[in-house]
């Protein structure tokens, strides 16, 4: 019997989708600015600039709010992988992606209110939210005031290191977004993850109700255990 668990509170969902919308605007406008071509304008340069600036400022404010929310609510703990689970958890996740999913095996872990993320998610989100995002925002803000950049740095324009760093991190986050959306289809069903991020509720695997997931936080993580549940 399928059951539902409430996992993602409203503030987290609102933050997630606002963040997603801003990131998509930033990626589209950033792509358009970087690969600007008068013959093939994705978004007109001046419009893309405005979109990028406004979204960038909004993202910075949102990120600050997120830091506060995440700290105050204690949600930040969700991002820290347990050292004991790191290797086994990553192995289980990799085995699922590389093989289990093709055999119809259930995911090695399912989200619970106590442990929303699997180890791969924890490690990735920790890097994305606490390393890449600050880096992106700081280079973005610095880029916002190009007149303050040194005229020359190491024999090159002073803006160059900032611009390249911003571009590299923006690119990596674009790859993350692609992977994130795709991994979103790897839940108990292809849409379960998306539904959960909209409603806050997680529907457990409709096809394997025999063994409900452990909600104590110690979800089954090994592919063999997961396999048993299939």
């Amino acid at each position: 019997m399928a059951s539902r668990v409430y996992i993602i509170p409203l503030w987290l969902r609102l933050w997630h989708w606002t963040n997603a919308a801003l990131m998509i605007l930033l990626m589209a406008s950033g792509f358009s600015l970087h690969f600007s071509d008068p013959d093939l304008p994705l978004i007109r340069f001046d419009i893309a600039r405005t979109i990028h600036n406004v979204s960038g400022i909004a993202l910075t404010v949102l990120y600050m709010a997120y830091l506060v929310w995440n700290t105050v609510s204690g949600n930040w703990r969700q991002y820290v992988p347990a050292a004991s689970e790191l290797i086994s958890g990553l192995n289980a996740q990799n085995a699922y992606v590389a093989s289990g999913i093709f055999k119809g095996a259930p995911p090695p872990t399912v989200p619970t209110p106590e442990k929303k993320f699997n180890v791969l998610q924890q490690a990735t989100y920790l890097l994305v939210m606490y390393v890449a995002m600050p880096f992106l925002i700081v280079t973005g803000i610095a880029f916002f005031f190009p007149e303050l950049a040194p005229e020359q740095l190491f024999g090159m324009d002073g803006l160059l290191p900032l611009a390249v760093a911003h571009y590299v991190i923006g690119f990596l986050l674009t790859l993350f977004l692609l992977g994130h959306i795709y991994m979103g289809t790897m839940g108990t069903t292809a849409l379960a993850g998306f539904k959960m991020m909209i409603t806050g509720w997680h529907d457990e695997h409709p096809g394997h109700a025999g063994q409900p997931p452990d909600r104590t936080g110690a979800s089954p993580t090994s592919p063999t255990e997961g396999g048993k549940r299939a």
């Binding site: 600015l33 304008p41 340069f45 001046d46 600039r49 190009p146 090159m156 790859l175």
Partner: protein, 308 residues
């Protein structure tokens, strides 16, 4: 070896000048600078010199020696009547026009100038707008002779600002009030940065066929399309960076790196190797996702068929 433009032929095809000749020119010019320089003015004790008048006729020897005309004798332009003091009354009327030396350039420049917004001012007040209104012959250095484009930008923009930032000078040539440059350029993002990084003429001249045009465009016809510069085919390649690009083409044939040494221009100075690497990585990721998704789909179909 030094290249100069000392006479008609010389200004058109740069000519080598022997060190001894340079030495002679510098000595001859030093005689003029004995009075026509700040130091000269301060040292003068002769009672028959009108110091107030002389103060308006000074040359900065340092700037002059860095200028395009560094190795041109003063008397090449200030032709006659200046060897003796007091100088001949009519001497000032006999200063050579620029086209005496720059004949070939004039053939090209004249048409451009006549179409320029400045030519209209010259029509309204004949003789009011000449080469030296913009180009101070004692200071001017061709943009390509600067070691960085920023220096060239500073010099060239200062030429425009002589009038366009001075009510007094602007009023000498125009009856209209001096437009507020900040206000009329408010549409241009990061205006101070643009002004430090590119020249006014980058936008206020038509895209040149060969070298920068002297057709200065009025505000309404000036370039306002960001991607004219902010794109891989940036017109800065034929404007500000023309000289650098030409040099680079001979050696590496990769324009972006040379512009990168000077300025980061969004959309124009992207590193193509980084872009290619990212394109490849993105293709691998998208391809990998597509393949994985397809394999999941096929595996799912097989499972469903097997399970009935």
């Amino acid at each position: 070896m030094v290249l100069i433009g000392g006479g008609s032929a010389a200004a058109q095809t740069a000519t080598k000048v022997e060190p001894a000749e340079i030495e002679r020119i510098r000595r001859a010019n030093a005689q003029c600078l004995d009075c026509h320089s700040e130091a000269g003015l301060n040292a003068i004790t002769r009672p028959d010199v009108n110091k107030a008048d002389l103060a308006g006729r000074l040359v900065d020897p340092e700037a002059f020696l860095k200028s395009n005309h560094a190795n041109v004798e003063c008397v090449a332009c200030h032709v006659t009547g200046f060897k003796e003091f007091p100088h001949a009354e009519a001497a000032k009327q006999q200063i050579n026009n620029c086209d005496e030396c720059h004949t070939r350039q004039f053939l090209r420049i004249e048409d451009q100038f006549l179409k320029s917004v400045h030519a209209k001012k010259a029509e309204e007040q004949p003789g009011s707008f000449t080469c030296i209104t913009c180009h101070d012959p004692h200071v001017f250095l061709k943009a390509s002779h600067f070691s960085t484009t920023r220096q060239a930008v500073r010099q060239d923009n200062a030429m425009c600002l002589q009038c366009h930032a001075s009510d007094e000078r602007f009023a000498q040539l125009s009856k209209a009030p001096l437009p507020d440059l900040q206000k009329i350029h408010a549409w241009l993002p990061n205006t101070p940065l643009h002004w430090a990084a590119v020249r006014c003429v980058e936008c206020h001249t038509p895209v040149p066929q060969s070298i920068l045009s002297h057709e200065i465009l009025p505000a309404e016809r000036a370039e306002k399309n960001c991607v004219a510069c902010h794109s891989v085919n940036s017109t800065l390649r034929v404007r500000l960076y023309r000289h650098l690009v030409e040099e680079e083409r001979e050696t590496v044939g990769f324009i972006n790196s040379v512009i990168l040494n000077e300025a980061y221009v969004i959309g124009a100075t992207r590193n193509r190797y980084l872009d290619m690497a990212f394109g490849l990585v993105a293709a691998v990721v998208v391809g990998g996702i597509a393949l994985h998704g397809l394999a999941r789909f096929v595996a799912g179909l097989k499972r469903r068929r097997r399970d009935g």
